[in-house]
Amino acid sequence: MTTHNPRHIISLLMENESGALSRVAGLFSARGYNIESLTVAATEDPTLSRMTIVTSGSEAVIEQIIKQLNKLIDVVKVLDLNDGKFIERELMLVKVKATTAFREEMKRMCDIFRGRIIDVADGSFTIELTGSGYKLDAFIESLDKTAILETVRTGASGIGRGDRILKV
């Protein structure tokens, strides 16, 4: 993370219609904007999808991203979560080697990061971990690389704190 191109989490609500995701993805690729992660799912109102995009760019680039997203006809509302206080969570599943010699160590690391072991096999654990992207990175960093068999991350979801509500 540099001061020039800070990471931004952008939340948006859009019409839950086919092709909506590709309009957003297409916009980012056509205009050369970064996407670190993008998650999308329908909201409690099935006609709306909520998307969280993690991107980075200068202030001017982020301003353009917000404007260009707003310009898409299907986009109902856009919010740059970084404009205020917000909470960010990401889910990761990690499959790690857990042979007899490593089993205790893995359990301990998992506890330290408040993860949960959700599958146990002869030689491996599958650990579920949630937190900010940085926390998930830190967990990966703290593991012996050779112990990691597989990882899968959902990408970040974000929500404003307190009264900051993104709703139609």
């Binding site: 859009m14 019409e15 086919s18 092709g19 590709s22 309009r23 297409g26 056509a30 001017a60 301003e63 353009q64 404007k67 260009q68 707003n70 310009k71 006809i73 299907d74 986009v75 109902v76 139609v168």
Partner: protein
Amino acid sequence: MEQGSKKITGAEILTRCLHEEKVEFVFGYPGGAVLHIYDAIFHQDKFKHILVRHEQAALHAADAYARSTGKVGVALVTSGPGATNAVTGIATAYMDSIPMVIISGQVPTYAIGEDAFQECDTVGITRPCVKHNFLVKDVKDIAATMKKAFYVAASGRPGPVLVDIPKDITAHLCQFDYPESVNLRSYSPVTKGHLGQIKKALKLLAEAKRPMVYSGGGVVLGEASAHLIKLIQSLNIPITSTLMGLGGFPASDQKFLGMLGMHGTYEANMAMQECDVLLAVGARFDDRVIGNTAHFLSNPRTIIHIDIDPSSISKRVKIDVPIVGDVKSVLADMNELIASEKPAQNTSALAAWFKQIEAWRSKKCLSFTQSTEFIKPQYVIQKLHEVTKGEAFVTSDVGQHQMWAAQYYKFNEPRRWINSGGLGTMGVGLPYAMGVQFAHPNAQVACVTGEGSIQMNIQELSTCAQYHLPIKVIMLNNRYLGMVRQWQEFFYENRYSESYMDSLPDFVKLAEAYGHVGMQITKPGDVEGALKEAFDMKSRFVFLDFITDQKENVFPMIPGGKGLSEMILANDIGAEDL
């Protein structure tokens, strides 16, 4: 409204939607996936279908109909290649914010995704070059979708909207019920500008020592010409225009400095660079207009920007006073404020500013040396202006001839100058002239083109014959892709790589083969007479092949990457002062 409980086919619903939208012309080309629609067209006579010879031309013609009238242009193409042929036309309209509705046929819903005959992902292919697009999956949705399409195309910053309709949907039966209005929770363009910002802008303009207005295509699209004229006259400030904005302010007015940008006038570019307060109206600071951005910004000035599209503001240049809103409404508010508040202006500074501008103007950057041997292309445009009394609709293709037309045909009214500014699409000229002539059957329509561009849609000579369009093609034939040749001369040491147009047809015979009148003009002395003769043939399509000076270049010119004040002028104009 003729609506009721009777069930009709999707195809009939579609034509009824077009009736509801008061569509006069549909430019199109039939094919398998749109056969039901064409059958419905056969059974109606409220709009006229214009059969082109290539889908690209249908798009351009509908686009020019929109550009010259302000109404939504409508095109109809079949699936697969019909749609892909239309893409260039859609992208051309998109770049210049032209309101259009494009209806494309699609393979039946049950065949989508099976690589069916003439199937392509039209919605996917066109997504980056439309304002919005729809795939209709149910006959019940046709009417509401068409209503939305016309609304989205024409409102806010206009643009093309595509509606893709699978063939089976056009055969299904449904009641026709056209919605009275549209309400999209995700789309509500701002029209009214922020009054506080408008006041601030006016104060800056009034107090400026070197104020300048730079107007763009938004003034034409937003029907704001009268308001702009009023503003300029009451504040007495100089104005320049982009290629797309020509005609938005009368070129004959002393305060008009001509077009700015890469081939803009010396006075316009210098004033743009040296001004202290700049008002941009419906323009977007694109690369061909301000040249090198860092160079442009090296001279500090306060910039006010009026635009209906928030994303146009501070996109390439940081704006000090942004005003999001409909150009016409904002300018009207500004004029009202001027009338009520009568802001005091710095008249002595303004007089000095105009004096400086006149000094720049005295360079006569558009002068050229007349020849008795070769026809100078600039001279043809000057004579075209004289012969048509400046009242013609002028379409152009893309290249040197386009720039000469923009520089030498002095447009005094909006919607008279029809060209592809943003995408720069060669081949638009002839289909553009068709669209304009359909919209204005009694007007003089001139298509200024080159021997390169015209061949990109030459097949439309046939359409012009079918519909008896009395267009006058003004072809500046220098046997080169002139603009490419010019760049190769300046920046590639005269290596004219693939820019010579060999094996040209005999254009006179070609025109005659289609039943038109063809004329070739080789001597400067014959230019005026030929133009008069052509325009006197009021009911005939005349193809004028002007054999012009091969070596002529477009000046002034800002080389790529250079700044506004770093223009190259024609050799015989005091370049030493630069």
